[in-house]
Assembly symmetry: C2
Homo-oligomer: 316 residues x 2
């Protein structure tokens, strides 16, 4: 595998023939009965049992999806709920994903300034050099928050280059209230997220960040739920990968999302979380596959890939 | 103790007669020789030894400062560097701080949207209801990032009310590049952080958030390094506590910082981190107290309290 994150992404997207990635946001109460039944009723409140079940579910899910998608996005919030035991599980899953050949994005949304940003960058992007934790891997990339400006981005960009990893800076989120702050107009009537995008673009375009295939290891998170912004961003930030949340449960369509892809299919990772990992809750899949939750997950990935591929074809 | 965070802060600030709080940002290599000498040369790279030394240092530091200041701010970045073992240490320190009667602010700067924000709020503000972790406490308050708008703030505000805890939303940070995004002017020439401040103020002013003493459990983080913004914020957001970083090593003066305090001394927590916890590195204290690092830390707290009290007096 290439040592530049953006090069690895190009290879992985071409190998799996899709921009789709799967987000792991595991909530104990929604896990399939088959994962929970051999355990007690009270396992939701027993930290060892809960993280054990979550690890089991995520590992099995990754085994299903690994041949089909380039990357997995693990949202650390769902692990921090179980405090340090959850964080240990988060790292165990990164190793599992790596073994399965998946690129791993740690959706940690960290953001701090100067010296503290350096510490966060080392904590989340550097494979630990700590005896006792040598076998632990940092994710291939993380999400970060750039509200504090360049001081909050640069340490992560530097660490990404040093470690062959990547960062995605939150620019335009996919939630209903995102517009309140991010779209507030400046003196020229332009939304403020464009200002952050410019800053991210400037750092991303520096030669130290660019891989052999012309992409940067610094990308942006831009929701698929704001399609009107997409075409301009894709055009203006030619060297950047976009991490696109919102496809599936959050309501962005395939057509909205593939606007971030270049004609060869690279340039965007389109994330679906709950619509894939909880596919077994949907009547559509339940009727077809009954209690076979793994088959439901597999079919949901196939359907999403077809949906995106169709949208991609009609775009070309 | 009162069950409303803002009421507890009023009591604590009055009892300790200061707005000064101490930030714990422990870096192994800077720990005092007395903490490191009974250990190996390679302890920095041995996770158990490193977190053990950090725990030791932070606990001893808290014992010194507990009679003198109302609260401690623990920055989780410095613990995440040691992965789950560091996170376990972070929680162990929260319990120690609570035993010492200190209010504890978890400086975690979490920010995510909707459902994930709810999960983060539960992870960081709710005392765990997990068997195996019952004795673990969540901090009294945390810092959060509001870039994603109301969806990213409301779940934390609700959890704070339910749990008798608090949140401080990053509004204007204290770093050199903060202005790039946060001060970008809108159509009326007003800096964009004011828009975020308005949103925070609107949520903070809701009756569910207000304690008996008239303050909200939702506050703002505003750097002491931007004094020109302070007077207006203090006037406009009468019910809010301000968490003020930047005093000490980051260059904000006592005069700049006490502008956030009301005449009775409540309304602001003024944080100093490195200038206190690494006081033993300063020639000024070294000459006076030699290798007695604890006496250096104690004197640095006394000096900072006098500095702030003097500035407060000249303001009145």
């Amino acid at each position: 595998m290439s040592s530049h994150f953006a090069d690895r992404l190009c290879d992985a997207v071409k190998a799996k023939k899709t921009s789709l990635i799967v987000g792991l946001d595991p909530v104990y109460s929604r896990l399939p009965a088959a994962i929970k039944t051999h355990r007690d009723m009270n396992d939701e409140f027993d930290v060892d049992a809960a993280v054990d079940a979550i690890f089991d579910f995520c590992t099995q899910t990754m085994r299903i999806i690994a041949p089909m998608v380039p990357a997995v996005k693990i949202n650390i919030a769902f692990f921090e709920k179980y405090l340090w035991e959850g964080v240990e599980t988060y790292y165990a899953l990164i190793s599992e994903a790596d073994d399965l050949g998946l690129e791993v994005i740690g959706d940690v949304k960290r953001g701090d300034i100067g010296h503290t940003a350096e510490i966060y960058a080392s904590a989340h992007l550097q494979n630990p050099e700590l005896s006792g934790l040598e076998d632990t891997l940092a994710p291939d990339a993380i999400t970060i928050n750039g509200y504090a400006g360049e001081d909050a981005i640069r340490p992560f960009a530097n660490m990404a280059t040093a470690q062959g990893k990547g960062v995605f800076v939150l620019v335009r989120t996919s939630n209903p209230s995102a517009a309140e702050i991010q779209d507030s107009p400046d003196a020229d009537g332009r939304p403020m997220y464009e200002r952050l995008a410019k800053l991210v673009g400037r750092i991303a375009d520096e030669p130290a960040q660019i891989g052999k295939k012309g992409y940067s290891n610094v990308g942006m998170v831009v929701g698929g739920t704001a399609p009107e912004t997409t075409a301009a961003l894709r055009r203006d930030y030619d060297k950047l990968w976009f991490l696109v949340p919102g496809y599936g449960s959050q309501g962005a369509s395939a057509v909205d999302c593939v606007r971030f892809c270049k004609p060869d299919g690279t340039g965007a990772l389109i994330n679906a979380s709950r619509s894939i990992i909880y596919a077994y809750e949907k009547p559509k899949y339940k009727q077809q596959f009954g209690e076979d939750w793994k088959r439901c997950v597999e079919q949901a990935v196939i359907d999403a890939k077809v949906d995106l591929a169709t949208a991609m074809q009609s775009k070309l």
